[in-house]
Amino acid sequence: MAAGDKHLVEALLYTEARLLDRKQFDDWCALFTEDAYYWVPLRPEQSQPDKELSIIYDDIDMMRVRVHWLKHPKNHAQAIPSRTVHYVSNVLVESFDDERQEYRVSSALQVAEYRKDIQTVYSGSCEHLLRAADGELKIAAKRVDLINSQAVLGPISVPL
């Protein structure tokens, strides 16, 4: 791992946050590898997405379906669109796999969402698996553990 890597890692996470806040959802998808998944587990210690329920467990195709839906003119949940701010902090490169060129990165995430006179705040910890390939750094996996994942939740329309 080189000295400038931390900077690159942070830049990618901040870019992701900004694309989501600007609703550039196709560009957001383009940050992910084709084998990527986006996971919001129901249970904090959850390790098996196939044997337990999750709030979200999307592969890249499901992410694209989600984005299609978000942009669809007849989408009711976003007929009155949400405004969001994604805050990313406490970024730490946990490990680097030299052979696979993969960084395991943890961060703290807070998403403030405003819709229909109501402001909702989602908080959680985040784990990104970032892979460097062909001179580009991409997201190979993203996991968001919401602190209230097991609470009774209203609709979560916007990607976290």
Binding site: V40, L42, R43, Q46, P49, D50, K51, E52, L53, S54, I55, I56, Y57, D59, D61, M62, R64, V65, R66, H68, W69, H72, P73, K74, N75, H76, A77, A79, Q150, A151, V152, L153, G154, P155, I156, S157
Partner: protein
């Protein structure tokens, strides 16, 4: 026109319409709690949630905090209230209660609620641990039907099988889809909330007319988002949903006494690999025989409504349970089951389906929840007092034994739900 009085249920509910107050008046909500939810059979949990002695879950039904606990070989459902000074005995959502001890003054109970020892020393008159009044109180009635734990908070009225009548077969169908005739809860419960009346959810469950409007966005996204290399994913469930949307007009509806109903004949199937399906069918035939296996797997009921609380989809191994919180607020819990003895793929696909359709982030569910909120806001307006359920009225076919059949977009289930609603509400307060 004169406003119907709150307790004039004949006037609030007519044959093909109801007065909007049934959705908006907090006084109606209070009466519903006493007269409907306190007297119906309610789903409290599944025995696989409490596998070992002393294992418990806590839950809320009809405004009561309850403990579902594994005693010896059986399951008890107790009020979560200490007989000493009323503290909740189990504080967490689940755990093991051995010792089953009150956190306030340390009274200890057996797992059936019997008081074993108290911290009281000194002069308490006639105090004795053998006094049955000092046990944790059990609910008036509970029935464990093949692992499904049902509770009735009223000590009289029909038993579970009589009250559910033809809907017992919906529970059987879910269980019989397991080659071992048994299911286990898949860990995790999808829980969501919407700012609307509970009846809106039941009405929507068998509303065949809404998907082309409410779900146009997710249907199209599922179809367009599909890639060439076909794989089995939840996305396919959504495009399957799209295909089903065209079939909805040909669906069959059947309504029964007490507000139960089902919507059938929609060809939605969980997609699994050919190998897994073959393995599963072989196992099914081995344990049930050819004919029974066919009957079980050909059951085409898409949604079963067990009034007033349960929505059951045996094809997707799913039980959805509602909890009215206020006249304009409803919580929903979704339980998904693993079929014992079925290939692992069936579990994985059930999980994918649940995540795609019943998670609070589901692109399908969100459009429904948003619609419920819109209806609730719309109903607050005084413009026109009646909500219509007239579609198909006049084409209903009664079989003379309490069952009524309708087709396609008929609003038969809503009419049947409100007939039951009126009967419950007019019957007055429960014995408890």
């Amino acid at each position: 026109m004169k406003q119907p009085a709150i307790d004039d249920f004949g006037d609030l509910v007519r044959k093909d319409r109801v007065h909007r107050r049934v959705y908006t008046d907090p006084a109606v909500f209070e009466l519903e709690q006493q007269r409907i939810f306190n007297r119906s059979w309610l789903f409290a949990g599944h025995e696989s949630q409490v596998p070992r002695r002393g294992d418990f879950i806590t839950t809320q039904l009809a405004g009561q905090t309850l403990i579902v606990i594994r005693h010896e070989d059986d399951i008890k459902v107790l009020f979560n209230r200490c007989p000493h000074r009323g503290a909740k005995i189990c504080e967490t959502e689940s755990g093991n209660a051995r010792p089953f001890r009150c956190p306030y003054h340390g009274w200890v109970f057996d797992t059936d609620g019997r008081l074993i020892s108290s911290s009281l020393h000194g002069d308490y008159g006639d105090f004795t641990v053998a006094d049955a009044d000092l046990n944790v109180r059990a609910v008036p009635r509970m029935t464990n039907y093949r692992g499904f734990v049902f509770v009735n908070l009223c000590d009289d009225g029909p038993g579970l099988e009589q009250a559910l009548g033809p809907m017992m077969s919906a529970i059987d169908n879910l269980l019989d889809r397991s080659p071992e005739g048994a299911v286990e809860l898949i860990p995790g419960i999808h829980r969501h909330v919407f700012p609307g009346n509970w009846k809106l959810l039941l009405e929507n469950i068998s509303d065949a007319a809404h998907p082309p409007f409410v779900h146009a966005s997710s249907n199209e996204a599922g179809t367009k988002g599909r890639l060439e290399d076909y794989r089995m994913r939840a996305e396919d469930v959504m495009s399957g949903n799209n295909q089903a949307a065209g079939m909805l007009g040909q669906s069959k509806l059947k309504a029964f006494q007490h507000g139960h109903s089902y919507l059938a004949a929609i060809p939605i199937r969980i997609k699994v690999s050919r190998e897994a399906e073959q393995e599963y069918r072989t196992a099914m035939v081995q344990s049930h025989g050819v004919d029974k296996a066919e009957t079980i797997l050909n059951d085409s009921r898409h949604f079963n409504i067990i009034y007033p609380q349960i929505m059951l989809q045996s094809v997707f191994q799913t039980v959805k349970v509602l909890r009215p919180v206020a006249i304009d607020r409803t919580e929903v819990s979704v339980y998904v089951f693993r079929l014992k003895g079925a290939p692992q793929e069936y579990e994985r696909v059930a999980v994918q389906f649940a995540n795609a359709t019943n998670s609070s982030a589901s692109v399908i569910l969100q459009d429904d929840l948003t619609t419920f909120a819109n209806i609730q806001e719309g109903l607050a307006a005084c413009a026109g007092d009646w909500v219509l359920f007239a579609n198909g009225y006049g084409n209903d076919i009664a079989d003379g034994h309490g069952a009524v059949t309708g087709e396609g977009f008929s609003e038969l289930p809503m009419r049947s739900q409100f007939a039951a609603w009126r009967d419950y509400m007019a019957a007055g307060p429960s014995g408890n």
